[in-house]
């Protein structure tokens, strides 16, 4: 039993750290550290291309498709170092969601066409799963794909509506779960389609989040023609492919690296802000206890995460245990954003759109409310989504109850 990283793993960490330090553009790093974990579209693409050049574009892909041949611990170290350095996120929809499905269930033409373009950031992917009437109950989805033939060949005609589509406003492609049969069980009539976002009949409409940001969309499909070659795997087997994803490569879902970076930021904020007596807020025991509490939670999460990761490379792939990581990981993310907002005291109130006051000035409002602090309350509000998306905490608890506890 050993909770330490081995010398080889430590050497690997140093190698990753040096590479990021030397290659992460300073302007991106500063933006991410002030603006939050995402980075804008250009930043995400730029960073992806830098990683791609190095051969590190997809840490979890098999080597035959361009993966670096890392084990689970190395992948974890890589995520950790990226979070600490303030890199933009790598877009998960192509790299971690549609790519594994194509690798496992797609044909050679799909693999050779789509995978390299995902890796190099040439194609920006988004996800078409949820619908207004199908959230937690995804299997009840209604977007319809009817098969037909015309002069150009076999195709599906797709009609319906997807929602909660993240960053689809930038997307070149969307992978969709669609209904190809209304007979039998709902789950047995679903297919997995890859759809070009430029296909006539697709409309993307913004959904504005509670913090004012445009991050998700509704996507409308009106008689959208999709060549049958764009179906992954067999017709009516799409639900199986979607479920495969739920048990695949889910240990990143805990977001440990990002939360460790957020915890560092919280402590720095608590040292910079003053308490009621004018002394650093971190000297206020009640507030410091709250930081201590969330740090303890994060320690427990990290070790659980490592434990599950160490099993990932063995025969037993974690499935339902990932639900625990998702629940705790999302709650910790929320607590961290809440404490950062709380640290600001009265300065939790100002909402500075694009960092500006109503006269358009972006000068700091006060000495302890720097430009980099202006998104703090917005992060608290935005992060309420983490216990809702990707399978809400309620659904995750059902998975634990049924699949681990047998209730």
């Amino acid at each position: 039993m050993n909770l330490d990283y081995s010398p080889e793993e430590q050497k690997f960490r140093d190698e990753v750290r040096s590479f990021i330090q030397a290659n992460l553009p300073a302007d991106i790093r500063d933006k991410v550290k002030t603006g939050g974990a995402r980075g804008g579209k250009e930043d995400i693409v730029r960073w992806q291309k830098i990683l791609y050049e190095k051969g590190w574009g997809a840490s979890s892909w098999p080597e035959q498709y361009g993966g670096p041949g890392w084990n689970a611990v190395q992948r974890h170290i890589f995520d950790d170092e990226c979070a600490e350095a303030g890199t933009p996120m790598q877009l998960p929809f192509g790299l971690k969601m549609v790519a594994p499905v194509i690798m496992r269930f797609g044909n050679e033409a799909q693999k050779s066409h789509f995978l390299p373009r995902i890796l190099s950031a040439e194609d920006w992917w988004c996800q078409g799963y949820s619908e207004p009437g199908a959230g937690s109950d995804l299997a009840s989805l209604k977007t319809r794909a009817i098969r037909g033939t015309d002069a150009e060949g076999e195709h599906y005609i797709v009609n319906g509506q997807k929602t909660w589509n993240t960053l689809g406003q930038y997307a070149d492609w969307i992978f969709c779960l669609v209904r190809t049969s209304t007979e039998g069980r709902q789950q047995e009539g679903i297919s997995f389609l890859l759809i070009n976002m430029k296909t006539p009949g697709i409309t993307v409409r913004p959904i504005i989040m509670l913090d004012g940001e445009h991050e998700v969309n509704e996507v409308w499909f009106e008689n959208v023609r999709v060549p049958v070659e764009n179906r992954v795997g067999d017709e009516n087997k799409g639900w199986t492919y979607a479920k495969f994803l739920l048990g695949h490569e889910r240990t990143g879902i805990a977001g440990v690296g990002r939360s460790k970076a957020a915890l560092r930021r919280l402590k720095s904020l608590a040292r910079r802000q003053q308490g009621d007596n004018g002394k650093p807020l971190i000297e206020d025991q009640r507030f410091r206890d709250r930081i201590a509490q969330v740090e303890m939670e994060l320690m427990a999460l990290e070790i659980t995460n490592l434990k599950l990761i160490s099993e990932e490379d063995k025969a037993h792939a974690p499935g339902p245990e990932a639900s625990m990581l998702k629940i705790k990981g999302s709650e910790i993310q929320q607590t961290l954003t809440e404490l950062c907002m709380q640290a600001l005291g009265p300065y939790a109130l100002p909402w500075l759109h694009d960092g500006q006051d109503l006269a358009g000035s972006s000068q700091p409002l006060a000495e302890n409310f720097a430009v980099r602090d202006t998104g703090t309350s917005g992060s608290y509000f935005n992060t309420r989504k983490t216990t809702i998306y990707g399978g809400s905490s309620e659904v995750q608890k059902n998975i634990i109850s049924q699949m681990i506890l047998g209730l």
Partner: protein
């Protein structure tokens, strides 16, 4: 022991509720947030007409002789509609302060405009550098002939952007944390040397940083006695806290109603999600939290005019802490139970949630007031 409202109290609350339900819907509010003023001049005039603005003041000052319970009812009703008008800053904070320690001339000049809705006044007391401490005043007032010259920086002043006048606390003696040595001045918002950096707040209200650079005021600008304004300022802030407690209850009740409706109508897995026991229990907890918050808001209103300052402080802090905690729970749960819709700007739920979050961070959050109440146990 009497928990009944008088007929007059119920009538005023009903007339306000009727007006807001008819003319202050959510989409109307959204449109208001995009205007330069940021709230409704028409609604403010209507509140004046209905007697809302005059209610808390004595008849001798042009008021209707109401009490903190009346203020509680108004605040709760405004909260349920997420009203944006400066009732808290002009009426509860500034109006009560002028009424309590203003000179007869100041009361004559200012309270008339305040109660009739023609004058807005913002209280500029808090500053950066000491979180929620009410005794921290570093803004200075230096004697300048018969008057004073004010310099300093006031933080997150509610409704500063639309205020005609500012009530500015400034130190006339002592050091930054001394309770003695704080004086209060009425300052024209457009006076030379005054800069207001205006911004919206997270809940779509407006506030601003008030920067004072050698602002010259006359002898008649002093409100109350030199060096002795802090007790009255703290009392006004406690009235503000009691009103915020009541407003939070109004928001929580509206949020519960919206969530309950969603649980009954949103179907997944072939049934309304309100059929799932896990959600039923959590909805029950939201109902319990709101009912108890309502009781604490009542306690704050009853105790806020207590002659015993320690008793007033203890109860107001208990209420603010308790309601901060309950509102957080109700707000977070309501968002969660609405699923993805709860984190959109489109639906009113997130706006209720943001208002509750802002109320918690105003004049001391739950932890701050828990600390105050906890400290009071040492004295008992």
């Amino acid at each position: 022991m009497d928990f009944n409202l008088t007929e007059e109290q119920t009538a005023i609350q009903d007339s306000l509720k009727r007006y807001l339900t008819k003319d202050y819907g959510f989409e109307q509010r959204r449109a208001l947030t995009k205007t330069p003023l940021g709230h409704s001049a028409e609604a403010w005039a209507t509140y004046a007409e209905l007697g809302i603005l005059a209610l808390p003041f004595p008849e001798s000052a042009g008021g209707l002789g109401g009490n903190a319970i009346d203020t509680m009812l108004i605040a709760e009703t405004l909260g349920a509609s997420l009203a944006l008008e400066p009732f808290l800053s002009t009426i509860v904070l500034s109006g009560s302060l002028i009424n309590e320690i203003g000179t007869p001339a100041q009361r004559d000049t200012l309270l008339g405009g305040i109660t009739q809705g023609t004058l807005q006044v913002a209280l500029a007391h808090g500053e950066a550098g000491a979180r929620y401490a009410t005794n921290h005043v570093a803004t200075t007032a230096k004697k300048d002939g018969a008057g004073w010259s004010l310099s300093g920086h006031k933080a997150v002043v509610l409704n500063a952007p639309s205020a005609d006048k500012l009530l500015v606390s400034a130190r006339t003696s002592g050091s930054a944390f001394d309770a003695n040595g704080v004086s209060l001045f009425i300052v024209d918002a457009k006076a030379a040397g005054v800069t207001v950096r205006a911004y919206a707040t997270q809940d779509s209200h407006r506030a601003g940083e008030v920067l004072l650079k050698d602002v010259k005021v006359g002898a008649d600008a002093l409100v109350g006695s030199v060096n002795q304004a802090l007790p009255a300022i703290e009392h006004a802030i406690d009235r503000g806290i009691a009103a915020l407690c009541a407003e939070a209850v109004g928001v929580m009740a509206a949020l519960n109603a919206a969530t309950l409706e969603y649980l009954k109508t949103r179907k997944q897995f072939g049934q309304p999600i309100g059929k799932f026991q896990a959600l039923q229990h959590r909805m029950a907890e939201m109902a319990i939290a709101t009912e108890h918050a309502r009781s604490m808001a009542l306690l704050a209103a009853v105790k806020v005019e207590s002659a015993d300052v320690a008793e007033r402080r203890r109860n107001v802090s208990a209420a603010k802490a308790y309601i901060g905690q309950s509102a957080r729970k109700v707000g977070q749960e309501a968002v969660q139970m609405h699923g993805g819709m709860g984190v959109t700007d489109e639906l009113i739920v997130s706006h209720f949630f943001k208002r509750l979050t802002v109320i918690n961070a105003t004049f001391g959050d739950a932890d701050h007031h828990l600390g105050k109440f906890s400290d009071s146990l040492l004295a008992a």
